[in-house]
Amino acid sequence: MTVTDVLVCALGAVSLGAAIRVVTTNQIVRAGLWLVVALGALAGVYLVLTAELLAWVQVLIYVGAVVVLMLFAVMLTRAPIGRSDDLDRPRLPAILVGGGAGLGLAAVLADAYRWSYIGLSGVEPGNAEALGREVFTGWALPFEVLSVLLLAALVGAIAISRPEVGERREES
């Protein structure tokens, strides 16, 4: 075990624990806050794995925007403080499916990599320069397509969430 391993293990444990709280807690807003912890710790793992830019993007987009949006939606849909009892379906099938997927994938990956070792010294850190070069040389077209996708999503979200034109007038 190297220092990196220890850090990954520790942050990973935090992340996994928080993730389990996200899917098991009975309090909706708490689930959102645990998601912040889980994704934040995941950003820490990225940082340890030299993916600097990705880590901060994760904090900026996920913690700063996505989770806030979710908490916002939870509060707008009148989440109660305290426990709600009707959040879950029957647990057993879900445990079977989720546990099967998780443990199965883990087994496959563990079998593929065993206890192989990779030195981090030769790895060029994934900073803004490296990722920028990567995205804008090899993946420029997908990048553009993505921006179109974002625009479409933006327009779609606005179109869905605005009240029907004219309807609001008549009501008030």
Binding site: Q27, L53, V59, L60, V63, G64
Partner: protein, 320 residues
Amino acid sequence: MPVWLEIAIRVAGVFVAFLTLPLIVGQTEHKVMAHMQGRLGPMYAGRFHGWAQLIADGVKFVQKEEVVPGAADKSVFRLAPAVALVPYLVALLVIPLGPGDLVAQPLDMGLFLVLAVVGVGIVAVLMAGWASANKYTLLGALRAAAQLLAYELPFVLAAASVAMAAGTLSLTGIVEAWRPWWLLWQLPALFVFFTAGLAEIRRPPFDAPIADSELVFGYLTEYTGLRFALFLLAEYVGIVVISALTTVLFLGGWKGPFASDTLGWLWTLVKVGAVAFVIIWLRVAFPRLRVDQLQKFCWLGLVPIALLQLILTAVVKVGF
């Protein structure tokens, strides 16, 4: 010097700045605001012009009873002030004070880190507002979330403009690349960044989430004693961080008309102080924006300006 000692000294320095600068800003606010309104402000604590007023306030806050509402989500309620403080502390770590090594933690992606962690502050506001189990705090938190999500966009875009101009994301690198004529060229970005920064720290005139005439005290309504003091501290650290960022990104950081290399840290502090003064000044001079005006100002005012500035920066950068 051993590495751990150096790190300890740097962290201690940031901690000292974290504890003293907000107090200085707060005291200045007391006095400047009072004089702008034809008053004197605190005059007694500490004999000379009430310089120890905030320390006295701190002692008072510590002595106060800690009230947690019965219906509140208690652990979230208790955790919120800490979550509000930590992002600003992290942001202070990477802001350079002077040339060379005068920064707690020089980072390649300092700008990006600052933008990312400043955005985390919203979570604290949502936690505080929701966990208080009070309709006013909830309304305040929802207003704050809507405001912060909206203003994050021009905030980041304006910062992106200057990063594009400097060709780096490192805060030290940006100051090094900075030239006096950038003041003119990046003026719209400066305006957008400063205004959006004000909204990010929810200072007047963008304090609709607190709005004491409508929402009692917004998301802070239920807080008392030390936790309330921590939220106040977060507000003043926020002023320091936004002033320091504006200074570093747009006003040339440690560069001054003379002695930039030896007295650079002084230039930075002077500029930060000046920007902080403007923040206080705006609080006194301007009335609070209504919520709809606030959103309109962001989406129809700041975002287009920021986008145009980005185009301008790109054109100048590619053209010359």
